[in-house]
């Protein structure tokens, strides 16, 4: 079942900016769509309006062809997973999962079988009689999933479901979600501020910022072709180099680039270049290297298979570079060395528009 949101606006205070402002998005049927954004971007509010837990001030919510904008949450048939799990503390795991079945008056035997199947699905067989307080965070969240899935929802809404979990557990559950989705294809809407999680799990991303949609598209689109400086900086992380147009070229501090084919910008216009940490190549500097291009390696952090270098450019600006461990070793670069940085790719924004 596909989801269409049209021109959604929701405010919590009479004055000031609305929490959600004229947001429109589409979640394709059977895919995982992620609402990605920092705290306060309105992503959770959008999710809660879709679930019916909040009422919009204006706009429409459509499930497939059905307008559900004014349908009470009770009747929307969605599965909602909360960041805080929201398990019923005084009910066993089994009773938690069976809750929605009880509401629908499913006969006891059938409900029991369903609960067993779900327990296996979330790999919690044998823990049916435990209480939430006796489970770990990851286990609790899996119960929350099972409970939401029990009602065979038209859509799964996940509100920062892994936010409260340990890093390791987060990664495991992320994998589990992706595998589950590959098998069952329930339209899923995921809200998160973790851009790594968004990129790993999503079919479709909607980036939100200050209550509005900044960009929507596939993961690659949003990453490779960010529409706004915010998206460029938020999704994937980037170095920001500031400068201006000089002689038709983009001049940002120590770097000088030509414009992309067909693009133009006025002389002297202020520009920001967004450079991904791994779009920079380094070579060791020698006596012949032009001073302007030389940077000093201030710090190196060896993280697993890659290295994160903190550089200080010739004009004093900092730059973060990420390179595979093998390359660094081949180049023989160490802390304190002087290196030359070459930008493989940069996303340049002139004031409010991008080149």
């Amino acid at each position: 079942m596909s989801l269409i949101v049209k021109n959604l606006t929701k405010r919590f205070t009479a004055r000031g900016t609305p929490a959600v402002s004229d947001v429109s998005l589409e979640a394709p049927a059977g895919g995982i769509t992620t609402l990605l954004g920092p705290s306060g971007s309105g992503k959770s509010t959008v999710l809660r309006v879709i679930a019916g837990l909040e009422r919009p001030d204006s706009g429409q919510i459509l499930f497939g062809a059905q307008d559900v904008t004014h349908l009470p949450a009770q009747h929307r048939g969605l599965g909602f997973v909360f960041q805080s799990y929201a398990l019923f503390k005084h009910m066993t795991v089994r009773k938690n999962i069976a809750f929605g079945l009880g509401v629908r008056k499913i006969p006891r035997a059938e409900a029991h079988a369903k609960v067993e199947a779900l327990l296996s699905l979330v790999q919690l067989q044998g823990l049916g009689e435990r209480y939430p307080a006796q489970l770990s965070g990851g286990q609790r969240q899996r119960v929350a999933f099972a409970r939401a899935l029990a009602i065979e929802p038209k859509m799964l809404l996940l509100d920062e479901p892994f936010g409260a979990l340990d890093a390791q557990v987060r990664v495991e559950l992320r994998d589990w979600l992706r595998r589950f989705h590959d098998e069952h294809h329930v339209t899923t809407l995921l809200v998160t501020h973790d851009q790594e999680e968004a990129m790993e799990v999503s079919d479709h991303i909607v980036v939100m910022h200050e209550g509005r949609v900044a960009q929507a598209g596939s993961v690659r689109e949003v990453y490779d072709r960010p529409a706004t400086p915010f998206v460029a900086g938020f999704v994937g992380g980037a170095n920001v180099l500031r400068g201006q147009m000089v002689d038709g070229r983009v001049n940002v501090g120590s770097f000088d680039m030509s414009m992309p084919h067909g693009a133009s910008a006025p002389e002297g216009a202020a520009v920001n270049a967004y450079v991904r940490p791994h779009d920079v190549t380094l070579t060791k500097a020698d006596a012949d290297s032009p001073e302007i291009s030389v940077a000093r390696v201030e710090r190196m952090a060896w993280i697993g298979g890659h290295v994160k270098l903190s550089l200080k450019l010739s004009d004093g600006a900092p730059m973060t570079v990420e390179m595979p461990k093998s390359e660094i070793e081949a180049l023989g670069i160490n802390e304190g060395d002087l290196v030359m940085a070459n930008l493989r790719e940069a996303k340049v924004f002139v004031e409010d528009y991008s080149i």
Binding site: Q74, F82, S84, F88, M91, G100, A133
Partner: protein, 277 residues
Amino acid sequence: MKAARATAGALSLRVVAVAFLGVMVALPLAAVVGSVLTGPGGVGAALHALASRTARAALWLTVWTAVVVALVNAVMGTLTAWVLARYKFFGKAILNAVIDLPFAIPTLVTGLMLVVLYGPQQVIGQVLAAHGLRLLFAPAGIILSLLFVTFPFVVRAVEPVLMDIDVDQEEAATTLGSSPFRTFVQVVLPALRPAVLTATLLTFTRALGEFGSVVVVAGNIPRRTLTAPVYVFGAIESGEPAAASAMSLLLVAVSAGLILAVDRYTRARARAIGVRV
């Protein structure tokens, strides 16, 4: 606290606390117990006094009115706490303050207020009398004054639990298709059960010992509207220490026993959810 210094300081604090409570609480309790054990006639006389028809009737009246009041409060107190915690309306602050009134108003004044409001000379009193309802000098009056005096207990015990309940759980139930009523019964109520239980027991205990309001409202007619505490008072005034001791000890034993049970239960629950008590 730093090790060596703390132990001496902590010890002296403990001594002060225990001594204070020992003198103020343990001593009077011991006196009541002692008066039965060492009084003239000892335990035998005490039992004999309690066996009198007046005493038995007083006990029975006290117990059944306390039970009724506890049950009514369990329901009305929970509902009131729900309204306080979940509803927004004009005058809520006033309602909130009014609920605490019985904590502050002297019980004697409570009794007097009820007499003034429902007495046979008043309009309401006459209307009620016409329908065969006597509030004053009747068990109904006792129940009414007890309801007044014990009203805040359940409300104030349930209120913080209600506010602590993760609204998440109720929202989760709604997304799973539950109606508001079902959500209240299956998700909210079980979470409230311990608080309601302990508060109801405490209401019962408090009602058991109520004196000031009852002595004015009930008329204290032996075997009709004479409650146990008033019986004790009467026994003291008329110089029957054995009867007074016996009834006192019984009341103290029951109340103290209930308090201890509630304390135990509260601590066990707190341990279960990991709170240090």
